[in-house]
């Protein structure tokens, strides 16, 4: 029983991490129409940046914030650098381009940091009844706070209105004086920042290694597809479900089989519920 409770709590942590990553993916997809296959590498970047900042600063939380911001800037700039050249290009070319980014970023991480695991100590010791490690609970709450902040930003602020305007009708929004350029820059930055934050949060749990982004990328894509492409609420629900399902399944089978079962479950959802998976554009 205790084991199941612990795995459920772990599932919530994994779920919120997937949610953070998937949110960035779905934002950049819904508004910039980019299928970003390097999103997992942004996640990896967040973890490595945190590790690097931590070895200089010594403070985990400050390092995490700096790393998320740095990932937002680097990742966002990377996407925007090619946005002009690929203007009007279909999803195929974006997917291949970002796949190329992924190769380059993974190899850069390999060259800079080596192949071994980079770990930092848990910044918070102690446990919470039923939930396990205190750090996990704090990370979960921080992720939820980030998601809530994003929802407020999109829903209530002036920039949020501009972003939604561009998303729903770009031409009309531009005619009304919204700068598409600015909105794109914001979205690229926020998207990469969310992935970076997720990577930073997971660093003390999973440690950092060059290929860490692959698994999270798969999960994020699964929930983005199943949640309805570009649909934020759907992605959130699907993330939590995926995290819980995977964590519970790990109790009874090999992690790789758990992953396959999760994939198959979601494929089944895809088959049964087609309106949830229609592209939003």
């Amino acid at each position: 029983m205790e084991q199941i409770a612990a795995q459920l709590a772990n599932g919530l942590v994994v779920g919120t991490t997937i949610a953070l990553t998937a949110l960035g993916l779905t934002l950049v997809f819904g508004i910039l129409h980019i299928v970003n296959l390097s999103h997992g590498e942004f996640y990896m970047m967040g973890a490595y940046f945190t590790w690097a900042a931590h070895s200089v600063l010594g403070n985990f939380w400050a390092s995490a914030v700096l790393a998320a911001l740095a990932t937002g800037l680097v990742g966002g700039a990377l996407l925007l650098a090619f946005a002009g050249r690929l203007a009007g290009a279909g999803p195929l070319r974006w997917a291949l381009l970002t796949l190329g980014f992924g190769y380059v970023l993974r190899e850069l991480a390999h060259l800079l940091f080596g192949n071994d695991f980079k770990l930092v100590d848990l910044p918070l010791e102690g446990t919470v009844p039923y939930f396990g490690g205190l750090y996990r609970v704090v990370v979960m709450l921080a992720s939820i706070a980030l998601i809530a902040a994003l929802a407020l930003f999109l829903g209530k602020t002036r920039y949020g209105v501009m972003i939604r305007a561009i998303a729903s009708n770009r031409e009309a929004a531009q005619v009304a004086g919204v700068s598409a350029r600015k909105v794109y820059a914001w979205i690229a930055f926020i998207s990469a920042l969310l992935a970076g934050a997720a990577g930073a949060f997971m660093l003390p749990i999973t440690s950092a290694y060059p290929t860490m982004g692959l698994e999270i990328l798969i999960m994020a894509f699964v929930v983005v597809v199943v949640g309805g492409m570009g649909n934020i609420r759907g992605a959130l629900v699907a993330s939590l479900f995926a995290g819980l399902l995977q964590s519970v399944l790990i109790l009874v089978m090999k992690p790789s089989f758990a992953m396959i079962v999760v994939l198959c479950t979601f494929m089944l959802v895809l088959v049964l519920r087609r309106e949830g998976v229609r592209a939003a554009w």
């Binding site: 999803p91 291949l96 992924g102 380059v104």
Partner: protein, 314 residues
Amino acid sequence: MVSAAGRGAIACAALAAAAVVPFWLPPYFVYLLTELVIWGLVAVSLDLLIGYAGLPSFGHAVFFGVPAYAFGIAATRSESLAIAFAAALVAIAAVSVLVGYLATRTGGVGYIIVTLLCSFAFFIGAIAWTGLTGGENGLYVPAAMSMDALPMHARYLIVLAIGALVGGFAWWLSRSAYGLALLGIKANERRMQAMGYDTKKYKFQVTVLAGSIAGIAGVLYALVVRTLSAELVGPELSTEAVIWVLLGGAQTLIGPVLGAALFISLKQILNNIPAYPMLLGLVFVAVVAWAPSGLVKLRLPQLRGVRTDERTQD
């Protein structure tokens, strides 16, 4: 511009040259050429999807690798070639229908993501299910169940003949009314629907068809190369194949074959340099950003009335 008859003559001459010239080459090169023909077949089948139907498959390795594995698994467990071929046929049908169904169920971009996810799923499965696939050690097709008894040139000629036959079929298909309908769907799906075409059916059919061609290539691979590993169903091969097609020029059929040959030859040479993945990534970026219509795109005449500019497709 070359006339249709002229192009036919060129194709025949090229095929004859491909059949005869290797008799003067050392066996190792003939072996490499055999592999290149197999990869060329994969490239052709993927071009049917990307270039003609506008369906960007990022999981093409599944169509290739699963039948290869099915053949290998059956071959190691039974003495009969017939059973092995039957298993491969069942696998070809099952995997192309399954992935085709899932992929065409979602809209345009869903096709990319769902095929890629399928490739991941089979890749993880191939590594994890060690009892069936040999896991990371891979699977060896027994020599008695392969083409090993034949001399190298005979193997090459058999593969070339099958490749030419299937490739010729793909070429014929691309020129037929069916191929035109595919181009129409790629250019403007709504308009095709308005004209009464069941575009979903076309997309599903062409995915199954292309998947089957890739499956034939997979079985040939199992017969010739004999070593099967999880990479054969994985996302790396899947996405590399997309680069072959783009590098050679989509919607030309022959372009992707040359793209595959160029890419694989370069890979053979560069594989050992230290930062190879970085180079690979930069190639992807460079092809997409600066050579979107292919390095060696042949100037084939555009089909009348069908606008197929890649930039206009979404």
